[in-house]
């Protein structure tokens, strides 16, 4: 993993100050480190750099000693003193704070030895965790703003677009639309009044998908790369004004972006006549106010203009009629972060990674029931197995992998049988999931899939803007059915009803939110139908998540009267004569389920009897 090589004689002490590490009091670590260096007169030899997120968030707070890239993690201010004394002064690695492989207990000193890091290829995240995000010198030292200089002085807009097209980069926000083609379309849209009006570039940083935080990390860790890319895009399509639309929840990202914009303006990388060319480009930040639908591009544009964030039908596409009815280019943060390096190294260089139809790398946010949580960047087409077991270090507490939810509320679930399919746009669409923004929530067997589907629908239903009926009313009806199912009051026809509502909502909704809202339900119903059936027919939640109290009953026709159930019942509430059907006193029953497991003839049912229910579903 090659990070920033910064031109200075000092050694670097990298302290991650991404949101997660800051919550774990990383600021205090950096301060203590500076104090200790001062006390020990080491300031001339070491430079403390407060970096953006390096990805391995659950290990924070951490210090990385560069250039060897030795990582110490889980630190307190006292530990810092020990590291300064032993490592920096005595030259001894402090084993105690090194990364430990979960299964073997083996200690790993450098990043390259740790499987979480060594299996990654960092392109979009190339600087995150290695430079001070705000200081422009750090960014420059890693080749920053060279692409913009090259574009302005040596390339035509057409050449820029050609390079992006050649790279095959596709929109990383979820849509997967080829970025170069989007640029070309926006370039070709004519302005009526070329002198007065301008086209616009918008960076979509309204990262609303729960469980995805790559855009936040890029803005926090390497904001200049996004600004540079926006200026390049502005040059390519012929725009003078850019907006970054950020979620209000991302306070630190806004703060760093704002600082970076100011510095870039002072440096001449933004503003009038950038780098002594005729090209002028300015960027403003617009902050959202808590509406998931604003991640949809037409809703986002309304929000940028200060209105309610309602989507509108497409066409006209933003490339033709966008912000203030002018042609507008909207790209996601991660997409943009790839641009400068693609310009510098060329489209073919980028294509060497990933698959033919989905070139390059993708950042995934790995969370949930997994050992190593955090951000990872891997080539497109990497399998889920590699991500979960090699990078992620497997499932904790010796539990089993059950499913992965990919793509947030618009995506679907991947199961054990999908562990070996390549994760790219097309393969995922085939199995009813999508890359989406790249949120990857891993679940072990203690997660109930019906509950997860309900969770996502609860989310989309709440976030539906209410403009179109299928989404506003349809998701509400679906949620009601799911609530009924998890409460143990589902009816057999509910599954059919869910399916038909899903199809209807997908066919008729106005924007992406509604079009994809049923996906989590459809996908869990497809792969975990038995769990839905268990909830509905047996009044039983296999994962034990839903608060259903099953009612155990003995079917008198099947019961042989062997007496085994009465024998195993710890509460002694099963009574009956030998060779005659037994009965359970359901009032006194503690619902432990032992009898259900032991019955040799399957005479014990949970909840309503299956037979009873199956008569046309009428009870």
């Amino acid at each position: 993993m090659k990070g920033g090589k910064i031109l200075t004689t000092k050694m670097h002490l990298l302290v991650c100050t991404g949101s997660a590490c800051l919550s774990a009091k990383a600021k205090g670590i950096a301060e203590t480190l500076r104090e200790e260096l001062h006390k020990n007169n080491l300031e001339s030899q070491y430079r403390v750099i407060e970096t953006g997120c390096i990805g391995s968030c659950e290990l924070g707070p951490k210090i990385i000693v560069s250039p060897e890239e030795i990582m110490y993690h889980g630190l307190t201010p006292d530990d810092v003193k020990q590291i300064v004394q032993e490592h920096l002064i005595n030259g001894q690695i402090v084993e105690k704070f090194l990364y430990e492989v979960p299964e073997t207990g083996e200690k790993k000193a450098t990043l390259n030895e740790i499987s979480f890091f060594k299996n990654q290829i960092k392109i979009a995240l190339r600087n995150c965790g290695f430079i001070n995000p705000v200081q422009i010198e750090d960014y420059l030292a890693t080749g920053g703003y060279q692409a913009l200089t090259q574009v302005l002085h040596q390339m035509t807009p057409e050449q820029v677009i050609e390079t992006v097209k050649r790279s095959g980069l596709r929109g990383r926000g979820g849509g997967g639309f080829p970025t170069g083609i989007k640029w070309e379309l926006t370039r070709k849209s004519e302005l009526k009044n070329k002198k007065m009006d301008t086209k616009y570039v918008i960076c979509n940083a309204d990262e609303g998908d729960p469980g995805a935080f790559m855009d936040r990390s890029i803005l926090e860790g390497d904001p200049h790369s996004v600004l540079e890319a926006m200026a390049i895009a502005g040059f390519a399509i012929g725009s003078r004004q850019g907006y970054v639309y950020v979620r209000a929840e991302y306070g630190l990202a806004v703060e760093r972006l704002d600082a970076a914009i100011k510095i870039a303006k002072r440096y001449g990388a933004l503003g009038n006549n950038i780098f002594d060319s005729d090209f002028s480009f300015d960027i403003e930040i617009r902050i959202g106010a808590g509406a998931f639908v604003c991640g949809e591009e037409t809703a986002l544009m309304n929000s940028v203009m200060g209105h309610r964030g309602h989507p509108r039908p497409k066409p006209p596409f933003p490339a033709q009629k966008g912000l203030w009815n002018k042609p507008t280019l909207i790209n996601n943060v991660e997409t943009l972060a790839n641009i400068p390096i693609i310009i510098l190294k060329g489209g073919d260089w980028y294509r060497q990674y990933g698959t033919e139809k989905s070139p390059g790398t993708k950042v995934f946010a790995l969370t949930g029931d997994i050992n190593n949580t955090g951000l990872i960047e891997v080539p497109m087409g990497t399998t889920l197995r590699t991500i979960v077991f090699d990078l992620g270090g497997g499932i904790p507490d010796e539990r089993e992998f059950k499913a992965a939810q990919i793509g947030g509320p618009s995506g679907g679930v991947l199961t054990r049988e999908h562990l070996d399919i390549p994760l790219d746009y097309d393969s995922l669409l085939e199995i009813g999931a999508m890359v989406g923004s790249g949120g990857l929530v891993i679940m072990d067997e203690t997660s109930c899939m019906v509950d997860i589907a309900k969770f996502y629908l609860d989310f989309t239903q709440d976030e539906s803007c209410g403009k179109c009926t299928p989404c506003r009313v349809g998701t509400k009806r679906m949620l009601e059915i799911l609530m009924r199912i998890v409460d143990g009051e589902g009816q057999e026809e509910d599954l059919e009803e869910l399916e038909s509502l899903s199809v209807l909502i997908k066919d008729t909704s106005l924007c992406g939110l509604g079009l994809s809202a049923p996906n989590p339900v459809l996908s869990t119903m497809k792969y975990f139908r038995d769990e839905y059936e268990a909830h509905i027919l047996d009044r039983y939640c296999p994962a034990g998540v839903c608060n259903i109290k099953p009612k155990y009953r003995i079917d008198p026709e099947t019961c042989t009267g062997c007496g085994l159930c009465a024998k195993v019942c710890p509460e002694n509430v099963i009574k009956g004569e030998k060779r005659k059907p037994h009965q359970i006193d359901s009032e006194a029953c503690k619902k432990c389920g032992l009898c259900y497991e032991k019955c040799p003839v399957g005479a014990i049912t949970r909840g309503e009897s299956r037979k009873h229910l199956s008569i046309g579903g009428v009870r």
């Binding site: 998908d209 929840e249 203030w324 997860i452």
Partner: protein, 181 residues
Amino acid sequence: MRVEEQNKSTKKTHPVKYKDNDLQQTVIVKDDEKYEKLDLVLDEYEDVEGSLVTVLHQAQKIFGHLSRDVQIYVAERLGVPFAEVYGVVSFYSLFTVQPRGEYTIEVCMGTACYVKGSGKILEKLKSQLGIEPGETTEDGKYTLETTRCLGACSLAPIIKIGDDVHGNITAEQISEILTKY
């Protein structure tokens, strides 16, 4: 409530006293200092196209919440109908028209937190504080909110009290955490 017709070309005066027709009583507002701050914001954004959301953010920061008065004041200064301002305020979940407690407790309901049991934490907070999400305790100390993913998924489950993030917590730790505030 009636909005006095005022000369549009001059600066609006701060609403100090008005008759509330719904309540049939006179309400006295003594927020002059806050309105002065809001004036500075409005001076900056008055002529910037599409700045309503930005202005409302700032106004909420100054006043703590967006009362009807503040909304009307913003509407008049920006020259947009009050209905539009109210439309925007009611659309976005981060804008609030109710006064807030001293500390806002936000329980993250993102997927990662949900999978790791944020539901139990919310239940515990509800019972401990005796309020539902969106409500404020009687003593005005805490406002309880559920929030969308805060992006600190690797620390799941998390809650945010004021600006402090508490990660990797369990329902049992809630009482102890609250004693710090």
